[in-house]
């Protein structure tokens, strides 16, 4: 993982080169039609929905985007 190019943003464990410069809000729209029931953590810090638009991804960021599934 550390040998990836330095412009890499990691989204749900996968390297992506389109990430840097993009906002979290844009990334969520790209990944899901659904905008509710979703949460995002960047570098293990959970964002509130209000912070999505103003949070711009930079190289090396590790993003987790999750939603609810059947379980438990």
């Amino acid at each position: 993982m550390e040998s990836q190019p330095e412009h890499t943003v990691w989204v749900n464990g996968t390297a992506t080169s389109s990430g840097p410069g993009m906002s979290v809000a844009e990334l969520v729209r790209e990944m899901s039609d659904r905008q509710t029931g979703i949460a995002v953590a960047v570098n293990q810090s959970v964002l509130t929905r209000d912070e999505w638009a103003a949070t711009i991804l930079t190289a090396g960021d590790r993003v987790e985007i999750v939603g609810a599934v059947q379980g438990g």
Partner: protein
Amino acid sequence: MDDPFELGGRTYSSRLIMGTGGSANLEVMEEALIASGTQLTTVAMRRLGTGHEGSVLDVLKKHGIEILPNTAGCHTAAEAVLTARLAREALGTDLIKVEVVADDHLLLPDPVELLDAVDILVADGFTVLPYTNDDPILARRLEQAGCAAVMPLAAPIGSALGIRNPHNIALIVEGANVPVIVDAGLGTASDAALAMELGCAAVMLATPVTRAEKPALMAAAMRDAVSAGRNALLAGRVPRRWHAALASSPVTGLPTF
């Protein structure tokens, strides 16, 4: 409501918390949830892109069933805390079922990591419902840490072995000032009834319903068993008589032959 179940400042009429895990599809899950009469159900948090995210929420919203997110799959306190915070943000609830398992073979709770996670989540304002071993001392520690309930296992998750140590469950109930909810390991309706007869405030289950041959029918059986067990507890059972019988017919006025 005659006999309300109070949990974390909320009130429910149903004492059966049914999970959504293990259903063959959403239609089967929906039928089972309705048949169970549950008002609170668990969901797990997973990465987007797995193809299943979200749609379960539509079913729960349609029927007004409250969501209890869990931290299933977490092995450390840090993972559980992050998952809980993601769930709170995604689902807008402070309820969290904290699962921190020691390994993926037995899925037994890791008590040290669990207690660490609970401390952080209580301080962070969550209403914490910990999935725990059937250990009366750990249950006491979890209550002291500020949990809104304690949820001891009947047996390992999905094992369907029923309540392996009823005495420990009874000791946990005896010592607790918060609701005790038996969670995991139940197999069939009599297991749920026994949990309630032991004084548990509620029962949480998924596998015995969702993986039954007829999930909706088993859900109804569980609903009735929880109700029957609760009523039996409230009714006050007769004491066990190990060394003598007690006739239920008059012992006088017997004809002689």
